[in-house]
Symmetry: C2
Subunit: 324 residues, 2 copies
Amino acid sequence: MHPIEHLQAKIAASLSNLPIYREPAGLYEPISYTLQQGGKRIRPLLTLIATQMFGGNPDKALPAATAIEIFHNFTLLHDDIIDQAPLRRGRDTVYKKWNINTAILSGDTMFAVAYGQLAGSDPQQLPQLMQVFTKTAIEVCEGQQYDIDFENSGDVTIDAYLNMIRLKTAVLLAASLKIGALIGGAAHQDAEAIYRFGENMGIAFQLQDDLLDAFGDEAVFGKKTGGDIIANKKTYLYLKALECSSPENASALRKWFCTRDSEPQVKIAAVLDLFNKAGVKQHAENLIQDYIKEAMSHLDAIRLVEKARAPLLELLSGMLKRNH
Amino acid sequence: MHPIEHLQAKIAASLSNLPIYREPAGLYEPISYTLQQGGKRIRPLLTLIATQMFGGNPDKALPAATAIEIFHNFTLLHDDIIDQAPLRRGRDTVYKKWNINTAILSGDTMFAVAYGQLAGSDPQQLPQLMQVFTKTAIEVCEGQQYDIDFENSGDVTIDAYLNMIRLKTAVLLAASLKIGALIGGAAHQDAEAIYRFGENMGIAFQLQDDLLDAFGDEAVFGKKTGGDIIANKKTYLYLKALECSSPENASALRKWFCTRDSEPQVKIAAVLDLFNKAGVKQHAENLIQDYIKEAMSHLDAIRLVEKARAPLLELLSGMLKRNH
């Protein structure tokens, strides 16, 4: 078995052994439905890989890795209510399949179950892991709140947007690595460095997702493009296009992002045309490269043999490859 | 200052020093709004009192006590969405004053903030405290789910109802005491005994609330009676009345608990008449006394000087006095 598959199997086993197969069914069925949906388990993989990188046994990091995966899925469950998203990984979201109350309460339970898993970590390390985990959980909520705020604001700066995706997406990837590193015995400064690596990589991934959503090859991307445009999502592409467009084009773009009832393909084509005129694809690609470069500089600051970094870089390049 | 007021002041100070006065305001304002609503802070008081009972310094229990109070308020915030409750302690509920999404996300953040406070406990004790806290949080969610399930079920047994209020209400009071006792240095069996004390007392309090809602003196009770009857809440009184009534009266009672559009005062009077014919007030009072007796037997099993128990019994008798 490939080393990453080996770690994935550990995560899958840990998730199947959770104390969530019990009564009341109305509470626990949505939880097992959510956790059995699969996904690539990127975050817990990052944790186990980081533990290994610093010479630790990944089994020691399994409780924390499991906690992170449950937490991540809990946030998706509540976000789907907030975003009124009907589908997740091709299946009905919990609030659609059951109802909002179930999605709230099952989500709350998952959050508690996540902490319950974390508590299975080495008692000596628990206070420190709790601190990182809790700070991150709060930041993810802050990121989601900024995302909501930005939906209703006509005045979002690019810096504010980048900070929002940092909080909503990147810090959890960063914390997954840092928690793994701490469990693996990393020195404080190395744990910080791998956090910064993950944070910058996380922003790069989100920018790439924004880019793919607009300019991706549907066959490679695996889903329809233009979703963010239809939903009037003020991504980096939109904000940068406003900045780089002529007043007329900026005004046309603003107008498109206020409509909800236009023909989707017409709107997508018109917005992409305005994006192209503003040259935002190139801007986004440059910014992504900047974040990746910054990420790598933090990784390079950690004294590790090349071999120790290989699984991490392999996993991440798999994620970046979707772009090309 | 009275000893209990002294502890209340510590709790108030701890709640005002939380890291919740910051951006984004859309996330944190509902949290400070919720936590500043006051209330008697029964649960954190129980924690601090239990720590003192076993000779500990209540300051050592303040992080855990604060965590419990935040957790309790978080559950109220989400419960108010689920129950569509417009008012809480005489003020708009968060989901009414803001919206459902805000109430979900601010609640999630409070849950994380609660764990963040708990993490400030003695590192040596943290794993054990986490275990009690998390188990309790999960049980409270289970209790709320059973409550939802029972709303839509025609077939609730008295045992199932008692288990529901145990989970939804009593275990948090019990855990508040147990956590305080553990921090105070209680032996394992004493921590268990005080848990059982709190659990039985908690069920007694909830049964008393049910009783007051139907038969209370509005001037003493401080709110209108009959609320549970109007809401068709299948409390102990209803379930016991079904058990003790003639087939005709039971059928009349069932019918009343299916209607939503009858004149409130007419419905309340008719249901109270059926409750009286079934003698449920006396049944409830007996059951409450049974739970209090059971609670006291667990407290008596703990070897404590009379003086050490005094603040606990004073606080609880204040809660019970509302009945008389």
